[in-house]
Structures are given as C-alpha cells and as structure tokens.
Subunit: 378 residues, 2 copies
C-alpha cells in the first residue's frame, strides 16, 4: 500500500427532503447567490421551485445562470465567470447533474482574479481561492458531488479535459433520491455505467490496495444488483437511493486509497467521443470499457480474472469481459460505435483525436497501449 | 435506506513516515501541548522520541501525562483534565492505541469549564467546546482515530460506557503502520477481532442499507485474508498497513450510512467483562460474538446466512457461526469464558453486571434478548 491522505471536506446530506434544511444551513454565507442549472428540466419537475423557496427563506439575492448542457463547455464557464464577477457572487448553488456541478466548480475558482477557466484547466494558472459551492444533485452518475474534480470541453480546440484543486470541493452536497426520479431510462443506465467505470478505472490503476479492490467490488456489485430492477421501476425511491449513494462512493476517494493511481484511459477515450459527437458520457464508457479490457487482458489477465470472480463468479478473462458487455447491453447502453451512430469517416476522426489527446499529455493511463486493435473491436 | 449525513472532519495521514510532517502541520495550534500516552512502550520502540522531536521542532512546550492503561478509566481522565486546566493546554497529542486516544477525547471536551468526564459520559452535562486533538496511532483496532466516540470505565460504579459528540473528533490522525510493528501476536489478534466486531455490530443493526452491508463484507474479508499471514509475520509492513486501514474503515461511518442504527450488544457485554476482570477488549468480543449470533439465529437467520455466504461461501447459519468461531480460535483469541480465566462465581458476577447495565439503559441493542442461554454457551 502507498501512503495517502484522507482530506475530503464535503458534507453530505442524504435522503428524503434534505433540501428543506438548505435555508438554515446557508445562512452564514454571503447574500449574493448564483443559482446555476441546466436546460430547465428542474423547472418542470418542481425542484427549482423548492430550491428557490429555500434561497428566499434564507434572504439571499438570487442571480440565475441557466442553459448548461451535458458535456459542459468552457464557453459557458467563461460566461458564468463574467456573470459572477459582475454580480459580486458570494455563494454558488449548483442544481443539476455532473455537467452543472462541474461547471460550477470551474467557475468558483475563476471568480477571484477573473481567471480564464481554460487557462486553469490547461494548468497555465493555479487558482488560489474559490467561491463556496453548494451542490444539489439531480442525477446519480459522476460522483462530482463528493470530490474536487471537474471536466470541461473546449469546442474551439477540440479538447475535453479534467482538472481538480481542493478549492473545487463543494462545501455541502444535497442528495435527495426523489430529485432523480424523473431521470429517464437511458440516462439512468448511463449513470450506472459511469459509476461502474469510475470504480473500475480505480481498480485497473497501479499499486496494490486490496481493501480498495474490495470496495470497488462492493460498489460495482451494488450497481449490478440494482440495475435490472431500477430500469424496470424508475419511480422506486429505495433503488434510486441505492444508486445515488453507490455513485457517490464510486468516486469519493475510498476506491483508491492505498493505490499509486487509477488508470483513466477509458474516460479519456470517452471524452474524445463526447467531444466529437456529443455522445452521452455513460454511453461512451459502455462502448469503450469492454474493448479496453480486451487490451488489458494482454498485460494484466489476473486482475481481470479476480474481477470476474468477484462480480460474476467467473474467473475466466473472456467470461468477465463478455459478462460485463452483456450487463451493459441489458441496461440498454451501447457497446459498439455503430450503436452510437459513429461510423465510417467518424471512426477515423475519433482515432485522430485520441492520438492528439495522448500526444498532448492529458491521458492518465498506466499501460501505454496501441489503440489500433481497440478501435477495431468497437 | 434511511436519511444520513456524512460529516467526518478527521484528516488521515496514512503510511510510512507520516509523522515527519507533524511539526509542520501543527504550527498553527497554540504552543502548550499535552502529550498523553500509556505505560511507556512508546519509549522502548523509539516512537516517543520521534514525536517529541517533532513537537520541539514546532516550538511547542510539552506537558506529559502518561500511564493510561488499557480499558481506560475515568479516574485517569479526571486527573488529566485537572492537569490540562492547570497547565492551560491548547493542543492534545494522543500517542497510543484506543485507550489513550479515547482518554484524550474525554479530556478534550472537559477542559473548558473544568467538567467532570463522568458527568459528561453519563449525559448530565453537554460539553460545548473541545481542545483540538491530534492522534498518533500505535495499535490498529478500535477505529477511534476516525470517529467521535470514546469508551471509559468507572471503577467506583462498575460501569463502562461509550459517549461521543462532534467536539471529540481528532483534527488529524497519523497512521504509520511501522508504529504497530511491535504489537505482539495476542494484541494483534485482538485488534483483528475488534475490527471484525465493529463491522458486524453495524451489520446486525436495524434498517436496510445494502451497500453498507457490502462494505462490511469487504472489511471483514480483508481481516480474514490478512490474519493468518500477519500473525505468522508480525514485522510485515504491508500486512500491518492493510490491518491498520481496515480497522479505521470498520468504524468511520461508512459501514453504517443508510441504516437506522447498529446493534452494540456484544460490545456492551464485552465491556462488562473488561470492567470486572480487565479482559482485553478484543478477547471479550471473540468470546461473546459467536454466542450472540446463536441468539440472533432465532430472529434474523437470513442475515447470518447472507453473512456466511459473503465471508465463508457457506450460507448455512450454523456453518457461519462455526466458521467465525474457528477463525477467532485460529487467531489465538479466546472463545469461552474459561479460556479468559472467568469461571464459577465470576460467571454469576458477569450476569449480574450485564443485567444492571441493561437496566441502566446503556446497551444499544436492536433485539431485546434473554441472556441466560447466551451465558450458558460461553
């Protein structure tokens, strides 16, 4: 086991009606609040009204910034930074899924000094202060509610990269499973894929951390157990709650303590797909993960075998990969590029972007692999 | 799943040499430091010297309070409170295992206002402030390094009870597995039993929390996997590290999030044994746990069956209990009262103290059971 620190300051409020405490909990923050959200689904399902009522109850002055799209962009983050600077924002309330919260994190560390988010993500400028963030989660998937990381894409430069500093941790996150009830079947499946991928990218990292491995198995088995029931019963509070907590646990550090690092190649591959074709993040991962495991089977077959035993009671390498593929299919998440509408010339574009991304040094991967084969398998 | 909050502020510094950062990390605290430790084993193995060097490097004035015994007493805590008040202590550095750290926690919340620790533990006075605590762990077992709880015994009243308020969380804990290398075989076994018991007392609590169950299985399986190798190879850093992290994870909250509560009957039983006969804490638990599971098999056989499947690949109730008993025996930890030297009249004393303890309302148990049978099985 490697040395590590546990220093995650995010307070989690989990369960039914937790947002009813929001007004009380945010009293000590400044009065000028940015409420940032997405395309407006929170207005249809009543969540927006609940949050606004809490902000008003706390006597906050609300400044709204909406329209954040999935696969969030640096362009939106830039506009939001300017909006925050102009309006002297003292607290950011991010209401949404990973895209909204990631944008909020990027914005939060750029307000002081009016930094450019892309300069920050490209490690040209190190932010030194952050506006406090409260996250209110409406989609269980990315785990961003309990970590310091964010991912943005830049449509001018064709880059999609992640970044994190401690100033990007939310102060508090509110996880009410009822707020995820209206997530449709496809995006529920993508969320399950995403949390599994986060766990496995930790698992296939470097360094031995046997308890962290067992926690990965716990989280992934939880997702596999939930999936068939939840996808047929989307209004089930308890299954939504289990998925929500599993997604947080998949990427709050515990799956990784004691390792040298994770291996984030599949996420980087997925980001290339989302960058070029706006593929939903989870869908990109279910396509790439099994193929990437085929590559891994050349170098770390034993790890795959142990995983198969823990998840599917099958310690054969091929069995593990086949069963994971079947699981993704059974959720309705794609496992080939063609299913995501990526064919012909687009496959070449993807390969080129992957090569460029690797060359730019943004891929954190343990095993340097030739991706010709990988792309031939998807 | 029940609503819950994650709000654990303890920073963990885990691994080789982490205490070398102590001087830097404590600079911002006041200069008058209480260094509290046990019977002096830390002086023999060189750990004391390392810590004192760090405190001096940070220009702290050191006030020593030593002699804390295992199964720590309120009498020692009272003396330490007085010592802290007299010396205007601004930071407590607890160097030791659960007994020392638990004493430090009790003392920390009694300095302000010169409270009596027993009044606090008996819930007569609610402390409102705590001296900051740094814990430096030398025994992997109790998990106290990452939670807010402490247990003290009162030899005047024959009571041993637990208590916790957020002011009792350590600010930081230093977990260097090398600091546990000199723990002998018996106490290493007791530590393994203790961390397993913590996990299971969560598991047998009330309320359904399937991911928390899986985390319990992960932690207990880790202990079962480590035990035979570590007990034959006490100098093995990596196995010590795995045990140390498993012990922390067994009682830092994650095994319980989403449940209504744990069931702490076995700990309460064990505390009665330790109170009367100074039985090592872990030894009391390996004696009581299998017998208590026999009682539980009348009410929650399915939970035992699921546990057996996860730990021993055996879903029979009797098989699970027998295999857990065998495991404790294989570690060299006692599984009968006689093995701990408790016979004849002492068995009656134990029964009476148990009855008194239950009557006083200090046992947090989910199932109210007749303990006649239980005591006949041990």
């Amino acid at each position: 086991m490697e040395n590590f620190k546990v220093d995650n300051p995010v307070k989690i409020n989990f369960g039914k009606g937790v947002c009813n405490e929001l007004a009380t909990n945010i009293k000590t923050f400044g009065s000028r609040v940015l409420l940032i959200y997405g395309k407006g689904s929170v207005k249809k399902n009543g969540i927006y009204d609940k949050v606004v009522a809490q902000l008003k109850q706390a006597n906050k002055e609300i400044f709204e910034f909406s329209g954040i799209k999935s696969n969030p962009t640096v362009a939106d983050a830039r506009r939001a930074v300017e909006f925050c600077v102009t309006n002297k924002i003292e607290l950011i309330v991010a209401l949404g899924g990973g895209s909204v919260i990631d944008t909020a994190k990027a914005v939060a560390v750029c307000v002081e000094g009016g930094l450019d988010p892309w300069d920050v993500f490209k490690r040209k400028v190190r932010p030194t202060a952050g506006v406090p963030i409260i996250s209110i989660l409406t989609l269980a998937a990315t785990g961003t509610e309990m970590n310091m990381f964010a991912v943005l894409q830049n449509e001018d430069t064709n880059e999609k990269i992640g970044f994190g500093v401690p100033e990007m941790y939310p102060v508090e996150s509110y996880l009410d499973p009822n707020f995820t009830l209206s997530v449709n079947k496809a995006y529920t499946a993508y969320g399950l894929v995403d949390l599994i991928a986060h766990s496995l990218e930790n698992y296939f990292g470097s360094g031995k951390a046997p308890l962290a491995d067992k926690l990965v198995f716990a989280v992934v088995n939880e997702a596999i157990e939930i999936a068939p029931r939840l996808l047929e019963d989307l209004d089930n509070y308890d299954l939504r709650a289990r998925m929500m907590w599993a997604a947080t646990m998949a990427l709050n550090g515990y799956n990784n303590y004691g390792r040298k690092s994770g291996d984030w190649a599949v996420h980087a591959l997925g980001h290339c797909m989302s960058m070029l074709f706006d593929t939903p993040h989870g869908a990109s991962l279910s396509i790439m993960y099994p193929a990437w495991m085929k590559l891994l089977s050349r170098t770390v077959p034993k790890r795959i075998s142990e995983l198969g035993l823990a998840l599917f009671n099958d310690d054969s390498v091929d069995g593990c990969i086949a069963k994971l593929t079947e699981f993704f299919k059974s959720c309705g998440s794609p496992v080939t590029l063609a299913e995501a509408g990526i064919t012909g010339e687009q496959r070449e574009q993807l390969k080129q972007l992957w090569i460029d991304t690797k060359a730019a040094g943004y891929v954190h991967e343990v095993v340097d692999t030739d991706y010709e084969d990988l792309l031939s398998w998807v």
